[in-house]
């Protein structure tokens, strides 16, 4: 395992696309969190006043900060998914996956190496999000009740893995970098359109089981539930949301499916 990680690190340490996207993520992520907070604070006071048990929603204080930063960071998962696509499809484009096998790696080792990259990337992104949340929380909270609401962080970790499994799947099946990225991004749009059509047809329950929708609901907008309930009180119409645990199970299923299909495709075809 150590050797595989060392090989993958040697491959990626000078990959400019990875450096640029990670840098963008590290710089933009906390800025976006701050910008969104300012936006809500300035323009959406009434929304923020929608309280949870009578306490004012404070996106920068514990425990709300965890939900807020993970929701903000989840926007970057598409960008990070692009990294996964680049890392995997480069190996096809440069024919280095084939060369690695020729040089003596087993197909299992090659695949395991790529899975490690995905897991490490997810870990980095999650740790960074946690640090951002922690920093904002410590600065803006009167009490350092760090662990309250911290469950959002492991859920966010699962979400990054889910999106990355989806990106990995496209890179493996399509092999071409640009095409994989296009398919990856277009799939979000296509699923949203289908979701809209299903909602019009009063079939939201089906849409709730769609992969990207399920992934996004892992870190929903923090007071979405309250907003939905308020909307329900007004006109009795409530969008369908799966119970959190059911949603996690649905996401785990899709993540396993995308990884297993990718594995099957790699094993089945010639390099």
């Amino acid at each position: 395992m150590k050797k595989l990680i060392a090989i993958e690190f040697a491959k990626l340490k000078k990959l400019n696309a990875l450096r640029v996207i990670l840098l963008l993520y590290f710089v933009l992520s906390p800025l976006v969190v701050y910008a969104l907070y300012s936006f809500f604070n300035t323009f959406m006071g009434p929304v923020i006043e929608l309280s949870d048990g009578g306490a004012k929603w404070n996106p920068f204080g514990f425990p709300d900060v965890w939900g807020f930063v993970t929701w903000c960071s989840s926007w970057f998962n598409v960008l990070m998914g692009v990294i996964v696509i680049i890392v995997m499809s480069n190996e096809y484009n440069y024919k280095t996956l084939k060369q690695n096998v020729i040089d003596g790696m087993s197909l299992k080792q090659v695949i395991a190496g790529k899975f490690f990259v995905v897991f490490i990337l997810s870990t980095i992104v999650t740790l960074y999000t946690m640090i951002v949340g922690l920093a904002y929380g410590l600065i803006n909270s009167e009490t350092a009740d760090v662990w309250n609401g911290f469950v959002e962080i492991p859920v966010y970790y699962l979400q990054t893995l889910c999106y990355f499994s989806f990106a990995f799947f496209f890179a493996t099946v399509v092999k071409r970098t640009a095409l994989s990225i296009i398919f990856f991004i277009v799939s979000f749009i296509v699923e949203a359109i289908i979701g809209g059509m299903l909602s019009i047809a009063k079939l939201e329950v089906i849409y709730a089981f769609f992969p990207l929708n399920a992934f996004s609901k892992l870190t929903p907008f923090p007071i979405l539930k309250e907003m939905v309930e308020a909307a329900q009180e007004r006109n009795g119409n409530i969008p369908f949301m799966l119970d959190s645990w059911v949603n996690i199970l649905v996401c785990l299923f899709y993540m396993a499916l995308f990884f297993l299909v990718s594995l099957w495709v790699i094993k089945r075809r010639d390099l």
Partner: protein, 297 residues
């Protein structure tokens, strides 16, 4: 000599095309084994199967009497089709990855040794994408030699190179061969194979037509160059005669292979009896190219 490679009834199919048909060959230690064949004859597919990147439909192969274990390939330096490296990494960084995969000890010394050998030491910090095709091929050879393997597998190592590049690569391969390493090489350049190889296998449409030592392969029918006024009628006579076959047309002469039993006078007589009076008939010195043409005709 011990067997380095054996294949038994190796077969590969792509939908309705048979790329390799029941290939059974043996390569022994120290041999320089040439794999010859026209485009689409199955050479690269064969090497791809032997190197673990193409799955055979049927049959087996074994390296070093050790089956198809992935570990075997660490003792093989291989270049299949094109040099495959990370374009954004320099020569040293690319070779470090290969060294890690192959568990090379003393990586830095090994990299220096092979880069100096292929004359790329001065460009060790240059990115792979800035290399010319010849330099890329040389880096691929350096990568092949990095773990000091017992076997080299080279697929068209001079493909796309200019004459100087071809000479450089050929000279490198000849040097490596002198070290007693076993080399399996597929090439279009018959002149190159003739100069280097001890053994040859000739393939066509995925089928093994001939295999043996260079001498065995070259001891085929003898060859003649014939010249006549009416080439089309001459060709028709050749087609209708069992022991004569047309190999090639060279300017206004025809290169033919004839059964060793028949003398030049008898050949001349065959044409004369059919109304063709040859204006030229001379022995043709055999080389691998003419032998190859005769075998794959």
């Amino acid at each position: 000599m011990s067997e380095v490679l054996t294949t038994q009834h190796l077969r590969k199919e792509y939908k309705d095309t048979v790329a390799v048909k029941d290939l059974s060959i043996t390569v022994e230690e120290g041999q320089i084994f040439g794999l010859l064949g026209p485009n689409g004859s199955g050479k690269t597919t064969t090497l791809g199967m032997l190197l673990g990147v193409i799955k055979p439909k049927k049959g087996t192969f074994s390296w070093f009497g050790n089956g198809q274990k992935d570990e075997n390939r660490k003792n093989i330096g291989a270049l299949l089709e094109t040099p495959n490296f990370y374009p954004y990494l320099n020569a040293v960084d690319n070779l470090k990855i290969v060294a890690q995969i192959k568990d090379v000890t003393g990586t830095n010394e090994a990299i220096e040794r092979v880069l100096k050998r292929v004359n790329l030491w001065e460009r060790k910090k240059s990115k792979f994408k800035t290399f010319s095709l010849g330099m890329k091929q040389r880096l691929a050879l350096a990568s092949c030699m990095l773990a000091d393997p017992d076997v080299l597998v080279l697929d068209e190592p001079t493909n796309g190179l200019d004459p100087q590049g071809i000479a450089e690569i050929r000279s490198l391969i000849m040097d490596i061969a002198k070290e007693g390493k076993t080399i399996v090489i597929a090439s279009h350049l018959l002149d190159e194979i003739e100069k280097m190889c001890t053994h040859v296998a000739i393939m066509k449409h995925g089928e093994l037509l001939q295999v043996g030592t260079m001498d065995e392969i070259m001891t085929q029918d003898r060859m003649l160059m014939v010249k006549a006024e009416n080439p089309s009628k001459t060709k028709a006579i050749i087609e209708n005669t069992d022991y004569i076959s047309l190999l090639d047309e060279v300017d206004d002469e025809l290169l033919i292979a004839v059964d060793e039993k028949y003398s030049n006078a008898q050949i001349n007589q065959v044409f004369a009896e059919n109304g063709i009076y040859l204006s030229g008939l001379r022995d043709h010195k055999k080389n691998l190219e003419s032998t190859f043409l005769e075998i794959v005709k």
